[in-house]
Symmetry: C2
Amino acid sequence: MKMKALTTLFACAIAFATTTNADDALLSWNDTAPKKAIVSFVEKVTKEGSPYFVKPEERIATFDNDGTLWAEQPIYFQFQFALDRVKALAPQHPEWKNKEPFNHLIAGDMKAFLAGGEKSVMAVMAASHTGITTDEFDKIVKDWLRTARHPKTGRLYTEMVYQPMLELLTYVRANGFKTFIVSGGGVEFMRCFAEQTYGIPPEQVVGSSGKLKFEMRDGKPVLVKLPEVQFIDDKQGKPIGIETFIGRRPIAAFGNSDGDQQMLEWTTAGNGARFALLVHHDDAEREWAYDRKSSIGKLDKAWDEAVAKGWTVVSMKDDWATIFPPTK
Amino acid sequence: MKMKALTTLFACAIAFATTTNADDALLSWNDTAPKKAIVSFVEKVTKEGSPYFVKPEERIATFDNDGTLWAEQPIYFQFQFALDRVKALAPQHPEWKNKEPFNHLIAGDMKAFLAGGEKSVMAVMAASHTGITTDEFDKIVKDWLRTARHPKTGRLYTEMVYQPMLELLTYVRANGFKTFIVSGGGVEFMRCFAEQTYGIPPEQVVGSSGKLKFEMRDGKPVLVKLPEVQFIDDKQGKPIGIETFIGRRPIAAFGNSDGDQQMLEWTTAGNGARFALLVHHDDAEREWAYDRKSSIGKLDKAWDEAVAKGWTVVSMKDDWATIFPPTK
């Protein structure tokens, strides 16, 4: 056996040594019903010979991002990025001073801006997300993530992730699951941090996307981001995104809002053991408390369905010992 | 260490033991320039400490399907499936007897059918691929693949794959590459055989797709295939498909026609060592011979670019010792 062989075998052994034991893995979960439900499900589908056993290649788990893996208050972080980007671009666009909705942003009048509704939001998304190449966008987002801080906590946005969910991702992967993000967020935005933050590689991130255009510039190909929607990965779009991008029905799905309802329905409608979980934001002290009436992360119909169908509902207040990871 | 631990470690060792040695792996490749170029590239990017070393997670290789992994003559196999499906459905559609282009198919008049051009093709694709759920489509395709045989060779279509490319897939995977299909073919069609035939799981298949609709039927969610195009993964669409589905630029790409040109351009425009290969169908005896003038798998501009840029061009006649695998 060559040196390379030994190294590889050793790496294999290390990888294996990652704990698959729930008590060691799910340290930030209180010993309440949700943790027990997760562990019971994982043990059931991984136990060889069990009637619920699922082959590793079919152990697909999908996770919403905003409100499920990281926070989403006071506004979606990607939208905060868009606002910051518009402000950074404003000096190059003197015409924005007299152009809705940019004039309101430049004047710092969020109330006037929000009065413009979805049209204003889309204008800001287009101005911040399109007209540049995919490589340029990648660099801009990564620069922002390295420096921008959350207005309430002062943390980097990538530190606004939920420690219990990081542990859950590690735990299910150690049990042979392949973890995917399936989120309404922009697929290219999320790929800028998903691998480093969640251990989820770009090819396992499913999200909303805009149209792209292939162009030659100075003899080199580029992909230009166009201000046209290609696909919205939310609500009914989530099972469609799963089918189109992954092509296999998940056996477990994790969300936090009505935008995840159809993903959970699609997941649990498959044969064999299935698992569906909703994170309920009920911890005003350590995070935020919002559900049925919230404009962001509204949890209403999906909650009713969870209760009716016995899906697992996590109370952040009661079921999570820790919310955020230690800062670096 | 528990029994499970031992088993896993043993599986790891077995997986590792899969040969990474080119001479053992690429048995159906003659010892000519293309094989040498492949091996040289793979050794370069996998050698730790080399200036060309690429981390395993970035070893993305993309493969066209029709004409690259399996044959595409006398017509694309997916189109043969569509024709067979229309014939199977004809008894349920008496109105087709008087309706273009179905009347020509029922009468067996391919010349009249083909005179209808793209419009006729699209009508047949819609009739055979849409109006059913994704689960129904999956079953129909798998049934067809189990029984339908190629008109010239009498082989199952999944036996019309190229043995040297199967070996190449195995060889690059044994060297830490993640292999993807990036094809103009329908993504759901290809996923019906890609895992079993090529070892490429559904989530690593990128292809053309139609729009889907999420619906509740008897309290169960289904996805219905609509007769509207969502995305065409061909020509300029291939880099776009790669960016949208994979989110990482490949370091190696494999194709056979002008439809692959932009994928190869996109791949080779990245930094570091890159590899681009075109399969040239020049073996009329063992397969088919066609290139610049062919309506299927036209290889013209991409060939010129390959010559100009030093991409590897495989002569099926000279570089492949075997074309098809033994039948089962």
